[in-house]
Symmetry: C2
Subunit: 113 residues, 2 copies
DNA sequence: ACCTAGCGTTTCTTTCTGGAACTTTCCTTA
DNA sequence: TAAGGAAAGTTCCAGAAAGAAACGCTAGGT
């Protein structure tokens, strides 16, 4: 089965994962929940390449999790803000945060957010 | 940043995703929550190739989300069962299930689990 | 005129994934 | 006792996706 065929899967979990289930998308969402909205912010904080970032943002907008909003007209600039739909996924990330804190402690440094 | 560098990231969400954040791992977990335990069951239900499945199962065992347990010694056979650690991620999948049901309705058929 | 910021896009190389057959170890059935 | 099958992986190859890093575009600052 191809990843793209998952969006009509019988299982709602599979359909959700067809949208947010890849390596970087959930990390972008985390950044959104932390208040980031701009391309450059995601690019610097997220760690993925700009290439991938542009692609994932487009997909998140298409599916209605983020909204692409012009915040400046003179030099055309857009940022990305969470929609209500996007907010509904926040609890899932919260669970992952707690799980990571508890089960995957950092070895190199003790800093934690 | 490479995916593998994520396991010592400052962010607990990132660390969690370094373990379960890829295309198929969460789908394997879904199967676990549905009661599947055997390699062949995952292979048939999940839709991923056996290749990838073997790799992901190994990783889930290494990190302690699943336990590889011999259920037959004569022909050596193993199955994979959730640990307590693994059970703790169930709520995240539940949220994704609900989100998918609500926000990504099926177009082709009306069957739903 | 030149530099910088913001938001992507392009190119090239490396890594990962999909598909399908193959292996190994036993068990069953004829 | 030979044939066939089941379970749990492995191996091989072609094609898709990701990483790195530079390039492009628009517009404002100096």
């Amino acid at each position: 089965m191809k990843w793209s065929e998952l969006n009509d899967n019988w299982c709602p979990v599979a359909r959700t994962l067809s949208v947010v289930g890849d390596r970087w998308t959930l990390l972008i969402l985390r950044d959104c929940y932390l208040g980031r909205t701009k391309f450059e912010e995601f690019a610097q904080a997220g760690g993925m390449t700009r290439h991938i970032l542009a692609d994932r943002l487009k997909r998140l907008v298409e599916v209605g999790i983020l909204e692409r909003r012009a915040y400046s007209t003179a030099p055309k600039r857009y940022d990305y803000v969470l929609t209500a739909k996007g907010e509904e996924l926040r609890p899932a990330l919260t669970i992952m945060k707690e799980w990571g804190k508890k089960n995957l402690p950092i070895r190199r440094s003790a800093v934690e957010g």
